[in-house]
């Protein structure tokens, strides 16, 4: 999409995973604010203490746990999985009924009243964020709204509000500056990279980490805004329609004309022949 707007003032999360203690108050706050059902889960059913195992129709954000060894000791690393609120979101571009909107404030929101349930957003999202209400007869998609209802009123999102240590919330430019400040102030503490700065064309959720991001469970994502990939093909649609329709119409006109002329000639010849026969 040709969204050439300036994203520096978008409301953005800066999530410093080195400061995360894994308390999961963000998960709880998210459930409470969005009135989501609890999930019945079992401990150690997958990746250690992580619970619930994945985002789902009832869980819009989750803390991912990762065990690793450091100086012979078992250590934990965490990262908060949530909607990345891309600058140029794939879900917005692929939705056939415009159910996703990138708001001017930054959050990408979803209009459940429009959704037809085709699940293209789930296929398209490079971060695997939109989830589906598989338990329902007429299911819809669920996804973190960046607490748009709160942000609009000048509040900060529920998870950011509840987080005691790791989440900073503010304009994208401020958050990038803050991240860079931390990276330069403590070069040994962080991987010198901000995840989300370039991913999928830039997102409104930025992460800092001490482990390489792929080891922490982050997906490797292209730096190109995803909608540009489909648009590269889709923009030819009107031209293809006109070329195909026009050329076929022209060819049919041509072939029919040739046919008609051939028939007329035959007819004239036949007439002439019959006149010759009549003459004597």
């Amino acid at each position: 999409m040709s969204a050439k707007r300036n994203f520096s003032q978008d409301r953005t999360f800066l999530i410093d995973t080195t400061r995360c203690t894994g308390c999961r108050s963000c998960q709880v706050a998210c459930k409470q604010w969005n009135q989501m059902k609890a999930e019945e889960t079992t401990f150690f059913n997958g990746e250690g203490y992580q619970n619930p195992p994945n985002l789902s129709e009832n869980t819009l954000t989750a803390i991912k746990f990762r065990d690793y060894w450091k100086y012979g000791k078992n250590e934990f690393a965490f990262y908060k999985e949530m909607c990345m609120h891309c600058n140029d979101p794939a879900c917005v571009s692929v939705c056939p009924v415009s159910a996703f909107i990138k708001t001017p404030e930054g959050p990408v929101i979803y209009d459940a009243k429009r959704c037809i349930g085709c699940r293209f957003c789930m296929v398209a999202c490079p971060f695997g964020v939109p989830k589906y209400q598989w338990s329902k007869g007429l299911p819809l998609v669920v996804k973190c709204s960046g607490c748009y209802s709160r942000v609009k009123e000048g509040l900060i999102p529920a998870c950011a509000k509840a987080c005691p240590t790791a989440i900073t919330y503010g304009s994208r430019q401020e958050m990038i500056n803050e991240a860079n400040r931390r990276l330069t102030a403590h070069p040994g503490k962080y991987m010198s990279r901000i995840y989300g700065l370039e991913e999928a064309g830039g997102t409104s959720v930025l992460y800092l980490s001490m482990l390489p991001f792929n080891e922490l469970g982050f997906k490797k994502v292209t730096q190109r805004p995803l909608p540009s990939l489909t648009w590269a093909a889709l923009r030819f649609v009107p031209a293809a329609f006109i070329t195909m329709g026009g050329s076929l119409a022209f060819i049919s006109w041509l072939t029919n004309r040739t046919e008609r002329i051939r028939k007329e000639k035959e007819l004239i010849e036949a007439e002439q022949a019959s006149q010759k026969e009549d003459r004597p």
Binding site: C115, P126, L226
Partner: protein
């Protein structure tokens, strides 16, 4: 005798194969009701990892090119004026119309909120490939219905609409071909957004073009298969000679497809290509059995003109070059390393089998009750008529 009794008697007269098909369609129908009663999660093996399964892979992504015969043959016969293929057009149109109707049905089953289908018109999103395909499939189904109405009107002797349809025939064929070009290719565009998900063997920027070309040659191969089946089981004349004309066009498209595919693989796709043995094997089967072998077969005159060998080559193209290709793109190639494997549930399979059975059944029934094999004599004029009075125009009346 009541109408019901008459219908029952009529059905009792059907061949056993048709009655089995009716049972399969019935089973599919029940399964479809089950999907709405119990929800997608309970009846299918779809989940957040596999939002799209058999219904999208087969009923939409694969069925659409399988129904491409109508637009391809329509263009060949009416636009390029290869009139001797005329007898094949009507059955192809019936196949196309049935195919697209069933695609719509499959899509409605797969949607979470099918009752909101009209939202596509209310809240259009021009940047969405799905929007474009939805619009095209709906309009093409309408066009195919109009094309299909000709034999229906002939059957019931509706003369006025028939004249109108004859007038519209050529514009409809052109319109249909243009619309089909759009959505056949745009189904490929679907998967361009799945960057880093679809494996490099299939993720190429020209995927839409490849989808369109493969739809064209598949359309022709389907016509061959259909003509042979109709000859064998519905007592229609052997069309091997006519089909030989088609088999001369097919290798061109197969060749272009092969060249583009190789070019794309070398110059346009990311690396690594051959890191997953299973996917490499699937890719190799698709290319060798589905494209290269039939390409070589169709290049030989002996095979082109032999009824049985024609059928075999066409069958290879359809089975491996198309069906396997579409499944590779929409299902197998999307599976990530170490991911659980998706397989369709009972309900999903029964619905899809029901849809395939419905296609064959309705084709056989339409062939039974409507004049779709009527061979138009050469004298029928298909140019846009300059007067509305006559359906058939003899040369004399044209002169006068």
């Amino acid at each position: 005798m009541t109408a019901m009794k008459r219908i029952v008697l009529e059905i009792k007269g059907y061949h056993l194969f048709l009655r089995i098909l009716i049972a399969l369609v019935g089973a599919g129908f029940c399964a479809a009701i089950g999907r709405f009663a119990f929800g997608l999660g309970a009846t299918t093996n779809l989940n957040d990892t596999y939002p799209w399964g058999l219904w999208i892979s087969f009923d939409v992504v694969t069925s659409v090119p399988l129904a491409a015969g109508a637009f391809v043959l329509g263009a060949i016969v009416h636009c390029f004026h290869i009139k001797k293929l005329e007898p094949l057009v009507r059955p192809a149109i019936v196949t196309g119309f049935l195919g697209y109707s069933l695609v719509c049905l499959g899509l409605l089953l797969d949607l979470g909120q099918p009752q909101r289908g009209w939202h596509v018109f209310a809240y259009p999103n021009l940047h969405s490939p799905m929007f474009e395909v939805a619009l095209c499939v709906m309009s093409y189904t309408t066009v195919a219905l109009l094309e299909f109405l000709s034999p229906v009107c002939e059957k019931f002797g509706f003369h006025l609409p028939l004249r109108l349809l004859r007038t519209l025939e050529l514009p409809l064929i052109v319109l249909g071909a243009a619309i089909a070009t759009l959505h056949q290719s745009t189904i490929g565009t679907f998967f361009l957004i799945a960057v880093d998900k679809l494996h490099n063997l299939w993720y190429v920027p020209i995927l839409p073009l490849l989808f369109w070309i493969s739809a064209v040659f598949t359309g022709m191969c389907i016509i061959i298969i259909e003509a042979v089946m109709v000859h064998r089981y519905l007592n229609q004349p052997d069309e091997t000679e006519l089909l030989a004309t088609l088999t001369r066009i097919i290798p061109w498209f197969l060749g272009i497809y092969l060249a583009l595919k190789v070019y794309a693989l070398f110059f346009l796709s990311e690396r690594p290509l051959f890191d997953r043995p299973v996917l490499t094997a699937l890719f190799a089967i698709e290319m060798v059995a589905g494209i290269i072998i039939p390409f070589i077969m169709f290049l030989q005159k002996r095979i082109r003109t032999d009824g049985v060998l024609q059928l075999r080559a066409a069958g290879l193209v359809v089975m491996f070059g198309l069906v396997l290709n579409r499944f590779n793109v929409s299902m197998f190639g999307m599976i990530q390393k170490n991911q659980q494997i998706y397989y369709p549930s009972l309900v999903e399979s029964v619905v899809t089998i029901g849809i395939i059975a419905a296609h064959i059944l309705f084709f056989a029934l339409i062939a039974r009750y409507f004049p779709i094999f009527e061979h138009h004599p050469e004298g029928v004029d298909y140019t846009i008529p300059d007067r509305f009075r006559k359906i058939k125009k003899s040369l004399v009346s044209e002169k006068a």
